[in-house]
Subunit: 185 residues, 2 copies
DNA sequence: ACCTGAACACCGTTCAAGT
DNA sequence: ACCTGAACACCGTTCAAGT
């Protein structure tokens, strides 16, 4: 049922996500939906949560590769669900799915050697930058820019974040990770 | 009338911005609004545009001071109008007011000595980062964080952007601006 | 346990009519 | 030029009733 709501949003926009439209897609009357959600706000919450489900776990690899893969996946999710994605800015990472995504970024920063005292803030800044770009693109702020231009912007954003993380890291040059990071297997 | 709509949004949230609510505030019937806006979407567009009006022109000072002042002003505007501000992500800088804000960032980057070939992209990245943070804060994504924490995050974001701009700049050390920037008076 | 019909208050929008 | 009353289609939500 949340999938039906997401489908309506993807195909006809957020305004078309109506109790009636979702119900029709399920061959049911609008009132039947109230068995499964408290009200329309709850339905939208569920749809956003479903979108979060699509964020894949980060692949193995260096912290930079992990972060790059996550950023690309998040942007792709925004492009698939442009009318729902911007709603992510309204929700703190309270659900387990949202926390999982946040913790993935956290782990990558940890592996990068970011100082423990700064890692939470660094996570917020990195996540916000990626989310802000993806939401802007999805919501239409960049609608007058070419896909090629936006791809280049996104690559530049990733580079800027990578340099930020490196500057926040205690590791200089190519030394081994410091003591607080888990020892290599 | 746009001011009445913005006031309703600020006091009771975006969902409360109803043709009826705005009309009531103006001591008029809902239908009277259609003399001034084409439809409700047009009303919301106008309200967003009005919000843009509040961005002050950048003060005199170094490019870093100008940028910092603009970022602070944008964030303050988001805090004043939390339910309208996130709508900014939906609009490209097509109106003259929006272009003025964008050009202010552009000018600061120019003064900073950012390479002409990269200045437009740098403007998008810097603006998107600031907008993304302010919109996240306004929309509620950081609702579980203290004001103090968010102030620190915002300061860190500004620092990160400053370092990014410096790295994009051709100016090394304390030399005078290069040839393409206007000569000092 | 799940769904429906009828009903209610509310919303956006139109149109002809009023001043 | 600006505003209103009446009307229409649509929306979210409730509640008692149905299977």
């Amino acid at each position: 049922m949340l999938a039906a709501g997401l489908a309506v949003a993807d195909e006809k926009g957020l305004d078309a996500v109506t109790m009636g439209a979702v119900a029709t897609r399920l061959n049911v009357t609008p009132m039947a939906l109230y068995r499964h959600v408290a009200d329309k706000a709850d339905l939208l919450d569920g749809i956003v949560e479903l979108l979060l489900t699509e964020f894949p776990p980060p692949p193995a690899g260096s912290w930079a590769d992990q972060l790059a893969a996550m950023a690309v996946a998040i942007r792709a999710s925004a492009q698939r669900h442009p009318s729902v994605f911007p709603l992510l800015l309204q929700r703190p990472a309270t659900t387990s799915r949202a926390r999982l995504a946040r913790d993935s970024v956290y782990s990558a920063l940890q592996e990068a050697g970011v100082d423990v005292a700064r890692i939470e803030q660094a996570e917020r800044l990195v996540s916000t930058a990626i989310l802000g770009f993806a939401a802007s693109e999805a919501a239409g702020r960049f609608r007058n820019h070419s896909r090629r231009q936006l791809d280049a912007d996104f690559a530049a954003l990733q580079g800027l974040l990578r340099r930020f993380i490196e500057s926040e890291s205690r590791i200089v040059g190519n030394e081994r990770p410091a003591a607080t990071t888990p020892p290599a297997p």
